[in-house]
Structures are given as structure tokens and as C-alpha cells.
């Protein structure tokens, strides 16, 4: 059965956001997002981009939730919570209410069965929290890697979960909706979240897994300029081996991914990703990249890299520096005369 046990309500708000998480969500569903929600018995109480109610009508909906008159299944917030200036939150008022989003988040989150941070901003602070952090931005329950944020480290939703951090900038529509659907069905537990509160739906994988450039990675055959097909880690700043996400295992927009398009992983699912300076170049010490694969000993990496570079097939080496496949995998092309016996 795919219906929630009873009418599962959803309230979606935008704090210090760019609206991108909503735009990603609207890509969801073979018959559109609204059909999918209906199919699962999820009732959208209000969403600033799509609902009919505006102004006074919208304020009335929020007031009923705040007073506890309307049961709230999931509170989804996209965007950073802005604490500035000087702790007032006035850099982001919910227009028409005279109150800050900081205030609204704190008022509504305790009413929610589940609280979902949609995107890296609401999860960890995101780009607005980058230095010099002019608006004193945080996530709902994290500031970068630190627990805290707008709701504090001890916040638990009515159902006893901390904030569910569907990070990503923007997150894949699948991450958002699979999490929401699992919540609505009561099938999502603390065990389904990683140490940063991210759904293991995507956080059990590295963005590197399934990358179409993996053969280049294996042989350390690297791209040196953008639009080349080689591995992007050694020179162009790719962090796919250090960032969680199943980006290369599921289709983005019908079949893409950042690394598939040659545009490098910037670790947008990670707390503090915005702190990187020089996102398009790999920082190195003594020719060795500083950021190595998440759980690989450095000595092993260096040794394996040297070995695999010495064994790089010509096809792979050539393709790594080309913007399209220069040489296909022709059978026998790499064989040296007399290297193998014919049968």
C-alpha cells in the first residue's frame, strides 16, 4: 500500500534560499510532483511557489499550524537560516508577518512530526554561510560541521528524529522525494541517517561511485584542462572521492551528473563545501593532491598511483587529454608483437 496511514500534511517554507531545491523538486514524477504527492496521500498545506493562497490566506494557514490546530506531518525548509544582523534574523523576514524566518522555524519545528532540511543551506548553512558570512547564516540543526544551528543540538521532532538533512546544492529530486515518501509511510528511522543527519538513501555512496571517468581514475590518466575526458581529481579540483552522493549512479536530468559533464564535484553535499577557495584547481603538496579519497591511506594512494600511471594503456592516456573519444577500445590494439600467443 502506498498511502500514508492518514492524511500526511506537508508545509514547505523558503528561508535564505535561492529556490533551487523547489525547482529541482518540480522535476519529480512521471505525471508531475503534485500527482506523486496525491498518490501517496500527502496533502500540501502550503508551498510559497505553487500554492494558491497568498498574503492573508497564507498567514492564516501558518497560524493554524503554529497553534497546533492543523496537524503537521513534515516541515520542509529550504534555504539558510539567517541570524543577522545581531541575532535579529531581520535579513530574512517572512514577508507580511513582520517576523523573521529564524523565529518562524523555531515556532513551527516543534509542531512537526518530522523536520526536513532541503538542501545544503538548510542543512549546514550553505553558500550564504561562506566567509565572511555576512548574514550569520546557519542550517536548521548544524552550522557547518557543528551541531547547533537555528533549532539547537537537542531539537527532536514530534516523532523523535533530529532534522533530516537532505543536503546537496541543489539536492537530486529523488533524494528529496524518496526521503519525504519514506517519512510519510513511517519507514524512515534514525538508522536511515548518517552522522550528519543525511539520508543514507544517498549518503551511503561516494559521488565517485559509478563515475563514467573511473577508468581514467584507475590509471591516473588526468584531464588538465576543462572539457577533457580524463579524471578530474588530480588537477581540476574534483572531490567526488571525498563527498557523499549517488550522483553517478542515478540520472540527473535524464542522464547527467557533474563529473559526466566534465564540471567536477564540488562536494555540495558536505557541510562547509562553500569554504573551498579555488574550486577549479586541486591543491597539492609536492605534486600530491591534498584531498585524497575519504578512507584511503595516503601512502597506499601514492604507491598505487605511481604503479597505475606506469601501466596506463595508450587509449586511456590519449582519451584523457581529448575532449571526445580519440581512440575506441579496438580489440588487440594494445598488444605488443609476440606479447601474447595466438590460439
Amino acid at each position: 500500500m502506498t498511502k500514508a496511514r492518514d492524511d500526511f500534511t506537508l508545509l514547505w517554507l523558503q528561508a535564505g534560499s535561492c529556490g533551487g531545491c523547489t525547482m529541482a523538486t518540480l522535476e519529480r514524477g512521471a505525471a508531475g510532483w503534485f500527482e506523486e504527492l496525491r498518490g501517496f496521500g500527502i496533502r500540501l498545506l502550503w508551498h510559497p511557489s505553487v500554492s494558491e493562497e497568498t498574503g492573508e490566506e497564507a498567514r492564516a494557514i501558518l497560524a493554524r499550524v503554529e497553534r497546533g490546530e492543523t496537524r503537521l506531518g513534515a516541515l520542509c525548509i529550504e534555504g539558510s537560516i539567517l541570524h543577522g544582523p545581531e541575532g535579529t534574523g531581520l535579513f530574512n523576514k517572512l514577508s507580511g508577518t513582520g517576523r523573521s524566518m529564524l523565529d518562524w522555524a523555531r515556532a513551527l519545528a516543534p509542531r512537526a512530526q518530522y523536520c526536513v532540511a532541503v538542501g545544503s543551506c538548510a542543512s549546514f548553512g550553505g553558500v550564504p554561510a561562506g566567509a565572511p558570512d555576512p548574514t550569520d547564516a546557519s542550517g536548521l540543526q548544524y552550522s557547518g560541521v557543528d551541531m547547533g544551528g537555528a533549532l539547537g543540538p537537542d531539537y527532536r521532532s514530534v516523532k523523535g528524529l533530529p532534522v533530516v538533512n537532505v543536503s546537496g546544492c541543489a539536492p537530486h529530486p529523488g533524494w528529496i522525494m524518496e526521503t519525504l515518501l519514506a517519512l510519510s509511510l513511517g519507514r524512515f528511522t534514525r538508522a536511515d541517517m548518517d552522522d550528519y543527519g543525511r539520508p543514507r538513501i544517498f549518503a551511503d555512496h561516494l559521488a565517485h561511485h559509478g563515475c563514467s571517468r573511473n577508468e581514467f581514475y584507475e590509471f591516473k590518466a588526468s584531464a588538465e584542462e576543462f572539457s577533457e575526458r580524463g579524471c578530474l581529481m588530480e588537477h581540476l579540483g574534483c572531490k567526488a572521492t571525498q563527498a557523499v552522493g549517488d550522483c553517478n549512479q542515478r540520472a540527473w536530468n535524464g542522464g547527467g551528473s557533474c563529473t559526466q559533464a566534465g564540471s567536477t564535484c564540488i562536494a555540495c553535499t558536505s557541510p562547509g563545501f562553500e569554504a573551498t577557495r579555488g574550486v577549479h584547481r586541486t591543491p597539492k603538496i609536492g605534486g600530491i593532491p591534498v584531498g585524497l579519497p575519504l578512507d584511503m591511506p595516503k601512502a597506499w594512494f601514492v604507491a598505487l598511483a605511481a604503479l597505475s600511471k606506469s601501466a596506463t594503456p595508450k587509449r586511456v592516456r590519449e582519451n584523457a587529454r581529448s575532449d571526445r573519444i580519440a581512440r575506441g577500445p579496438t580489440p588487440g590494439a594494445e598488444k605488443k608483437p609476440g606479447g601474447e600467443k595466438k590460439t
Binding site: G16, S17, C18, G19, G20, M23, A24, L26, E27, G29, A30, A31, G32, E35, S49, S51, E52, E53, T54, G55, A58, L82, P85, T88, L90, F91, N92, K93, L94, S95, G96, V127, P132, P134, T135, A137, C169, A170, F226, S227, W252, N253, G254, G256, C258, T259, Q260, A261, G262, S263, I266, C268, E274, R277, G278, V279, H280, R281, D323, R324
Partner: protein, 483 residues
């Protein structure tokens, strides 16, 4: 005189509050406020210049490609490279897809649902409109959203993902398309065209593109295109007099859209609606005024300005600055692009009223959906096999530079000063900063503020749906506005 505050103003992108001073049922003055400030112009300072390609697009999740391209344009202005022609073409395909998606989302998700509201119960068209366009539940959304998602597969192919793609560079795009990719592009554009010709227009694209006057539009609506959603809008618009609603400031600006190897697809220009005088836009004479913004005093020239908030500023009511061209408020958007490009239907609509209006803005946007879908097909066929898609960066020159593009909502400019490869200054003027600017030091209102003044709201006051139509006719993007 009564003062009415409308907010949260939804089905726009981002945070908007509108304050109306109403006297005897007429709006005397309107004040438009952007109620969000995230500080992107501060976030960019001191970073390596190339980081603008990762940070700036995150201003906006609805037009992130436009922000990427403005950043790429200002970076390109500072280095001696010519972009790869294929890169420009692929960029245009992706940019067009984003802009079409914006126009489509605006029409189906933001704008049309207002005609399904209970306020219009009793109008002969209301029942059918409610079934098709009601917010969240309307039947049209079951077609339009999947069509939008399919169109955005363009981004998967060219840019890896959307929103917030990283594939756009000063010298082109980071992925070269192979023959199979081109075929996939053509296939998904064909799918999208089929949706348009079935649902939105109920007619071939060329029939829409070829409309040359308001009279021809009327014939189209009663004839070939009668069954389409566009025709539904036109009939409602005639009934409600949307052509008389929401006049703009009379000047329409575009910096030129879709830069290809042979120049802009839609040219740059500044059109005076009253005189039909068209000239080159004096883009070096853009200034920003902070007299009514929560901002500290700064240089008026965006190349020398800073953005530092000041919540205590006397008389301030918005985080948006007030951009002015030669001291005047101007309107930007699809209407400006097509008016400057000389599309006969759009010129005729403007000539009838001598000013922009709610009706003309929507028609221009929907027309642009047709024009750009056709352009995407042309561009895909113009890609040159075996030619490069990207030219490598060269060292940046020091100094102030500017880059312009056209976002769906209009002219977007990034002004940057680079020093030793780092960002020393960065200022952004987005389309909705133009359209939804607050007053300037001379007291001149911004375009939306002008468009709302004089509106008869009667007894209903703020709940009068016409307010919603006028505001949404600009398709505001508030997250871009103050950024």
C-alpha cells in the same frame, strides 16, 4: 487613506512584500520590498576569480544558468580569448532550455492559477479554467510539469545537472557533444515541441511565431489555436481587460540575448514605447541608488560600488537597490527583448496602448517559448562535429570589467574588478532589481511601483486579484533581486 501590506506574496520566486496606499478604492502609491538579503556580493570578495562560476549561480535556483553566464561573461571580458563557437552554441541551447522552463513554470504554475480562484466564480470561463489551471490540482500541471522535466534533460546532456550547473566557462562548455548526444537533444526538443503544439498552442509553432498583429492573434485564438492553453489565456485577458492593467515606465531595455558566433539572436536595444524610438542602450550609464534601500551610501557606478546593509537607514523599505539608466527606471524582460527585436505582434500590442501592460508581458513570454524552441532546433543542427567546445582560460587582466546576459526575466549584469586573479569588487544587477526597484533619491518609483499606482481595487483592497495579476505579470525573481 489606508495602508495595506500584502505578504507573503507567493507564486513568485522568493521573498516579496507589497505595500499599497489606497484612497477611495484607488491605489495611490505602492512600495515594493525584497525582504531577503544573503550577501552574495560580499561572499565573492577576495576569492579566486574563477570561483564566481561556482558561487554566483547559487544566487538563484530558477535562473542559475543566466547567473553562470553573466559570471562567465565578466571573466571573459578580462582575458584575451575567443570562446569556441560550439561552446557558445551549446551554451545557448542550455540557456534557452532554462529560459523556456522559466516561462513555462510562470505560465502554468505561477500565473494562470489566479484565474481559477473563487473570486472569478460566475465568469463563463471559470469552471473550465479551474479544472485545468487550479493551483496544485489543475489538469494542465500533469502535462506541463513532465514536459518541463523532459526539456530540462537538456541540462543533463550539456551541463550534467540543473539547477546550479558548473559546465559554463568563459571559453565554452566542459563537455563536447558527440553525435549520439546531438540526436538525444533533437529527440527531447521534438518531445517538447509536441507538448507545445498539443497543449499550449494547439497549433504548429510556426503559426505562433508568424503572428504579426493583435488582429491576427484574435483570429488565431478563435481559429487554429482555439483549443490551446494560450487561447484560454487570451480569452480571459480580453474579458478582464488585462491590456489596460499594469502599465510600465515606458522604456524597455535589453542587453542582447543568446550570443552566438554571429552575434546576438535577439539584439540589444532601448525602446521608448510612446515614440517607438529604438536606440543602442547606454549601458555605461547604469547607476544604482540606495536612498530607499537598507544599504549604506556607496558609489552610484556599479563598477565602484559596495553592498553593505544598514537596517537603520531612514526611509529604507527594501534590500533592493534602485538601478536607473540615465536616471530613469526601465522595464526588462521577454517583452523588452521581443519589442527591441521587432517582432510585429509585440510591436503592435505596444502600439495599441503606448505602454507595456499585463497582457503584452504574458504574450511576449509565451511567444518566446515558441521562438526559443525553434532556435534550440536550429542551434543543435549548427553544432560542428569534431570542432572544440571549450577554449582554455588565459590569465586575467587587472581592472574593472562587466558582463551582460539576458535571463528569462531580463537584463542581468555582473560588474567585477579583478586584481592578481582575485575578486576585488563584485556587483550584480538582476532583472527584477530593475523591475521591482524601490524609489530613487528623486522619489521616482520603480517599474512595478508605477504599474500598481492608479489601479482600482475598490472595496476588496489588497484582496483584489488584479494586484496579483500585475505583480506576477513581471514574473519576479526576488532571490535575484537583492541577492
Amino acid at each position: 487613506m489606508s495602508r495595506i501590506v500584502i505578504g507573503p506574496f507567493n507564486r513568485v520566486e522568493g521573498d516579496l512584500e507589497v505595500t499599497l496606499d489606497v484612497e477611495n478604492g484607488i491605489v495611490r502609491e505602492a512600495r515594493v520590498s525584497a525582504s531577503l538579503y544573503r550577501g552574495f556580493e560580499q561572499l565573492l570578495l577576495g576569492r579566486p576569480a574563477g570561483d564566481a562560476l561556482a558561487i554566483a549561480p547559487r544566487i538563484c535556483g530558477i535562473c542559475s544558468v543566466s547567473q553562470s553566464l553573466a559570471a562567465a561573461a565578466v571573466l571573459r571580458a578580462a582575458q584575451p580569448i575567443a570562446p569556441a563557437p560550439n561552446g557558445l552554441i551549446a551554451t545557448n541551447i542550455a540557456h534557452a532550455a532554462e529560459n523556456i522552463a522559466d516561462h513555462l513554470t510562470h505560465f502554468y504554475v505561477f500565473f494562470m492559477p489566479d484565474f481559477a480562484r473563487a473570486a472569478y466564480a460566475g465568469r463563463p470561463w471559470h469552471e473550465a479554467t479551474e479544472a485545468r489551471f487550479k493551483a496544485v490540482s489543475g489538469a494542465a500541471l500533469r502535462e506541463a510539469l513532465p514536459a518541463r522535466a523532459r526539456l530540462l534533460e537538456t541540462m543533463g546532456l550539456i551541463a550534467g545537472k540543473w539547477p546550479h550547473s558548473l559546465a559554463f566557462r568563459p571559453g565554452g562548455v566542459t563537455r563536447a557533444l558527440a553525435l549520439g548526444d546531438e540526436m538525444r537533444l533533437l529527440a527531447l526538443i521534438a518531445d517538447f515541441r509536441a507538448f507545445l503544439e498539443r497543449a499550449l498552442f494547439s497549433a504548429p509553432l510556426d503559426a505562433v511565431i508568424g503572428l504579426a498583429s493583435a488582429r491576427e492573434l484574435d483570429r488565431f485564438v478563435e481559429g487554429a489555436g482555439a483549443a490551446g492553453d494560450f487561447a484560454t489565456f487570451i480569452r480571459i485577458a480580453r474579458d478582464l481587460g488585462l491590456e489596460e492593467m499594469g502599465p510600465g515606465p515606458g522604456l524597455l531595455l535589453t542587453a542582447g540575448a543568446y550570443l552566438g558566433p554571429e552575434g546576438h539572436r535577439f539584439p540589444a536595444g532601448l525602446l521608448d514605447c510612446a515614440t517607438a524610438l529604438l536606440r543602442e542602450p547606454p549601458l555605461s550609464r547604469v547607476e544604482e541608488d540606495v536612498s530607499h534601500a537598507y544599504m549604506r551610501d556607496t558609489a552610484a557606478d556599479p563598477a565602484r560600488a559596495e553592498t553593505l546593509p544598514d537596517m537603520r537607514r531612514e526611509g529604507a523599505y527594501s534590500f533592493a537597490k534602485a538601478p536607473r539608466l540615465e536616471g530613469r527606471a526601465v522595464e526588462v524582460g521577454a517583452l523588452a527583448r521581443q519589442a527591441v527585436a521587432g517582432h510585429p505582434l509585440i510591436r503592435d500590442l505596444l502600439a495599441r496602448r503606448g505602454a507595456s501592460n499585463v497582457f503584452a508581458r504574458i504574450v511576449a513570454r509565451v511567444l518566446e517559448i515558441a521562438l526559443l524552441t525553434r532556435a534550440m532546433e536550429d542551434w543543435t543542427r549548427a553544432l560542428a562535429p569534431r570542432e572544440p567546445y571549450c577554449v582554455a582560460d588565459a590569465p586575467l587582466a587587472d581592472g574593472p570589467f562587466v558582463g551582460f546576459v539576458e535571463a528569462a526575466r531580463g537584463t542581468l549584469g555582473h560588474w567585477a574588478t579583478f586584481r592578481d586573479g582575485q575578486i576585488e569588487r563584485y556587483q550584480i544587477i538582476a532583472p527584477t532589481t530593475w523591475n521591482f526597484s524601490p524609489r530613487d533619491a528623486a522619489g521616482n518609483p520603480g517599474p512595478l511601483e508605477q504599474a500598481l499606482a492608479g489601479l482600482a481595487v475598490g472595496e476588496e483592497g489588497a484582496t483584489n486579484v488584479a494586484v496579483q495579476h500585475i505583480v506576477r505579470s513581471f514574473d519576479p525573481c526576488m532571490v535575484c533581486t537583492a541577492h
